[in-house]
């Protein structure tokens, strides 16, 4: 019987530009931060290159998060993080209409479960006001339970944070990438940067698949940020990966929770969130576990059991619903809590490191901030941002299975059609990994986890890759 290697169905993506070309800017890292910066520079007329070690974007820290767009109400006051979160939020709100990105403003409640926590709510509100977040209402237990009737009756009260929203955390960066490409940016996937030196004129960056040249390097390498940063000649920070484990409840539970349920944060952790997602299920997590490894995103049964128990405590009716998925993400935390943004004009090197849990929200704001810091103008008249489209896989607007003309539904749990899968596999920005395909379509991400569709999806991937990859 013919073998099929499910881990190597995809060929490494080829580059579509002259490798001798000297770029204005090379962005290292195709996460949510890197794609945002890539877009910003490309839209502003810079000849921009995105270099990514994976065969798709979002293969590192950006693949696993809680999919929430934050207001910044609890960000560190007067920090760069706060400024970028707030700016990123506003940019997203504007861009979501232009690029048709997924979005639902559900607001969040910071719930107090005991008197001690209840006493902290006013201080959290005051901090939020100080952060320039204006719509923050204190709710008593009655008001809270009227709003969220399935919340455990043990809840004493809450701070209602208007504006906290659900987004598709993978569609937005894909749109940033596509817009950057449409504006002339180039990409090099499956190219891991291994070293580099400055010739006096430009950087020569060595990668596992050839050398690239760029006048300025922007390091947005996430979990590898400190390693990449050594190329510039100094060691300024250390990445300490922080693992976050999550569990996902079936879409049957979606109606149980209408608002993002946040805990009162402690000094150590922001704590476990129970939230509906853009994909119509309920997410619970993350944990916060510092570790050495940059790749170990294994789940641990005991921890997942704890998360489950926590979820049942917060929303008891979740007991009646099934857990359909578990995963762990790694946040690129560093040896200091703040963002590590450093502009070294002499070295033509910009570091964007330590963007831990707020990167999804801050990405667009951070990109604007970096562009302004960089202070080089590539064109006086940037053309209007090109319009790009990305497929909708959120439950907020109609999905492909609600339209006619598909051939068959391949993934029954998530109702993913064959044409959605094929489309997601095509072109320069097509999926380059199985995970990338899941993030673009949700195929295999439902309750049966591939019982029905794994073999069919694998066959489509092979067909679209145009040959045997065995």
């Amino acid at each position: 019987m013919k073998p099929i290697d499910l881990n190597h169905l995809f060929s490494p993506k080829a580059i579509s530009f002259d490798p001798d070309e000297v770029f204005d800017v090379a962005v290292i890292g195709g996460g949510v931060v890197g794609t945002g910066i890539f877009r910003e520079f490309a839209l502003n007329g810079a000849k921009t290159l995105l270099i990514e070690r994976g065969n798709d974007i979002l293969e590192g820290a950006s693949k696993g998060n809680s999919a929430i767009l934050h207001t910044g109400f609890d960000a560190p006051p007067e920090s760069l993080e706060l400024a970028c979160v707030k700016r990123g939020y506003e940019e997203y709100i504007q861009l979501k209409d232009e690029l048709d990105l997924s979005f639902r403003n559900t607001s969040a409640v910071v719930v107090a479960w005991n008197e001690e926590q209840a006493e902290k709510l006013e201080a959290i509100q005051a901090k939020g006001f100080g952060n320039g977040v204006e719509e923050l209402d204190l709710l008593d237990a009655d008001q809270l339970h009227r709003r969220e009737p399935n919340l455990s009756s043990e809840a004493l009260g809450a701070l209602l944070v208007h504006g906290e929203s659900l987004i598709d955390p993978w569609r937005a960066p894909l749109a940033y990438l596509k817009q950057g490409i449409a504006a002339g940016g180039k990409t090099a996937m499956s190219h891991e940067v291994t070293g580099g030196h400055h010739t006096g004129e430009y950087w020569e960056l060595e990668t596992t698949r050839g050398m690239f040249r760029a006048k300025t390097v922007i390091n947005a390498a996430g979990l590898y940020g400190d390693i990449v940063d050594k190329i510039k000649g100094s060691e300024d920070f250390k990445i300490i990966p922080r693992k976050g484990q999550f569990i996902i409840f079936d879409e049957t539970a979606f109606d149980l929770v209408g608002t993002i349920i946040l805990p009162v944060p402690t000094k150590i952790t922001k704590g476990v969130v129970v939230t509906p997602t853009a994909f119509g299920n309920i997410l619970v997590g993350p944990t916060a576990e510092d570790q050495e490894s940059r790749t170990d995103s294994r789940t641990v049964e005991e921890t997942l059991e704890d998360l489950k128990a926590k979820a049942y405590q917060i929303v008891p009716a979740l007991r009646e619903h099934r857990i359909v998925a578990t995963f762990a993400g790694l946040r690129p935390a560093s040896d200091e809590p703040q963002y590590r943004v450093m502009v070294n004009d002499a070295a033509n090197w910009i570091t964007v490191g330590g963007i831990r849990s707020t990167g999804l929200t801050s990405s667009l704001g951070l990109a604007k901030h970096i562009y302004e810091l960089h202070d080089t103008h590539y064109t006086d008249t940037p053309p209007p941002p090109p319009k790009v489209t990305t497929p909708n896989i959120s439950v907020f607007t109609p999905r492909d299975y609600e339209q006619e003309g598909y051939d068959r539904i391949v993934c029954h749990c998530e109702h993913v059609t064959d044409r959605e899968i094929r489309e997601a596999l095509r072109g320069e920005t097509g999926a380059g990994t199985w995970g990338g395909l899941k993030r673009r379509t949700r195929a295999g991400m439902g309750r049966c986890q591939g019982f029905n569709c794994a073999a069919a999806v694998a066959e489509i991937i092979e067909e679209e890759q145009g040959g045997d990859h065995v």
Partner: protein, 413 residues
């Protein structure tokens, strides 16, 4: 893709909608045809009718229904052919999205379609519980799959996804996974079971070990899937405090079947997937008297012939209910948590008494099962049960009235 044309299809009126063209759904359709019931439509989300047997390569199907042993695909083909011969209308590529006020909405390649059915039979089947729902530790990898996925790779696509597998579980389907691996040339490094004994007849352990050379580990307390990135290097198991590493490049989660589809939970009132109480009456009727459920959608997986006969019986009940419509008066049979599922779990007070209650225990166990009517013992049954065999209780032969409370309470020895 949102620019695709959107056709508004009108609601089609039908008498009976059967959702799921597996053994129970097709059997029900055949029976309704024999009973002269017109205007019956069978829907299936796949392009091909036949259900799960389509990718079960082993033999043993069809003995009770067609009087000869056949392979799963042959059995599925025979069912479909028989249904066609009886003039059954098959509507493939139709995915049920919701049921609201007797209107079923399907996603189809021609757009969303709506049917108002006087009676609906949900014969949605079952699927295995994947790794994630079991919260098992370790890496994520596309090489972690269920038996169902493996069988689709092997029997529908003729592909072997890995070279050396570990099979988690020791139910009937787990042994089927061993055979599928053997057929595909996949070595099986071990079979792993958390319970103290295999979840099948004991001699099968010996058969697996001696005939198939597959080591079988029972009483395993903890499993970790090891590897780097998405590549599996093996599985670490802990037993009596000792950890053992077993090398493999694929992991198969087998068994722990659970009803398919979320529609049972969201759109069928009172239907409970967790303890299976209040699900269906002896006539396969739910508390919404227009909705019936039969086959493996009622619990985990039983053999195809059991589903076939359930489908037939449900069809007879549906046919009868269309002749004389009456309000449904029921009493729920509440079961102990030791019981995985029991059918019927509702008593239709105006129908003949159920002859039997069929149930299964979650674990191997010995003890006494008490049937209580309003807290009073009406039957006492000795139990020596294994989780892979049905336990049947006779009817307790007492009149049950509206408002009564019937409970099954288990006392372990």
């Amino acid at each position: 893709m949102s620019e695709q044309p959107m056709t508004e299809h009108p609601i089609t009126e039908i008498d009976v909608a059967i959702v799921g063209a597996g053994p129970s759904g097709l059997s029900a359709a055949i029976e309704l045809s024999k009973l002269g019931q017109k205007n019956v439509v069978v829907f299936d989300r796949e392009a091909e009718a036949g259900g799960v047997p389509r990718h079960c390569g082993h033999t043993g199907f069809g003995i009770a229904e067609f009087y000869r042993p056949m392979s799963g695909p042959d059995y599925a083909a025979k069912l479909v052919e028989t249904a066609r011969r009886h003039g059954v209308t098959l509507t493939p590529r139709s995915s049920l999205l919701k049921i609201k006020e007797e209107v079923l909405t399907f996603s189809t390649p021609e757009g969303l379609k709506h049917y108002r059915a006087q009676r609906t039979l949900l014969a949605l089947g079952a699927r295995e519980t994947p790794r994630s729902s079991r919260l098992v530790s370790g890496i994520r990898s596309p090489d972690i799959i269920t038996t169902g996925a493996l069988q689709r790779f092997v029997y529908l696509h003729e592909r072997a996804p890995f070279k050396k597998a570990v099979v988690i579980g020791s139910e009937a389907v787990s042994f089927s996974a061993l055979m599928t691996c053997r057929h595909a040339g996949i070595e099986v490094a071990a079979m792993i079971e958390e319970a103290e004994r295999i979840q099948m007849f004991k001699p099968l352990k010996n058969a697996a070990e001696t005939l198939l050379k597959v080591p079988v580990h029972t009483g395993v307390e903890h499993i970790v899937i090891e590897g780097e990135g998405k590549n599996i290097s093996g599985v670490t198991i802990r037993k009596n405090g000792t950890e053992t590493f077993i090398e493999c490049d694929g992991v198969i989660f087998s068994g722990a079947f659970t009803p398919e589809g979320s529609i049972l939970q969201t759109d069928v009132p009172d239907f409970n997937l967790r303890n299976h109480s209040s699900n269906v009456t002896q006539n396969y009727q739910t508390t919404n008297p227009n909705i019936f459920v039969a086959g493996n959608a009622l619990r985990g997986a039983l053999t195809a012939f059991k589903c076939y006969f359930e489908g037939r019986d449900a069809a007879r009940a549906i046919h009868a209910s269309l002749q004389t419509s009456k309000p449904l008066r029921t009493v729920s049979i509440e079961a102990d948590d030791a019981i995985a599922w029991h059918t019927p779990s509702l008593i239709d007070l105006d129908a003949d008494h159920p002859r039997l209650t069929t149930l299964r225990f979650r674990r191997s166990t010995r003890g006494t099962l008490l049937t209580l009517l309003n807290g009073r013992e009406v039957m006492r049954t000795r139990i020596d049960a294994v989780p892979f065999l049905n336990v049947t209780l006779p009817w307790f032969d007492q009149d049950v009235k509206e408002g009564d409370r019937v409970e099954l309470v288990y006392q372990e020895e």
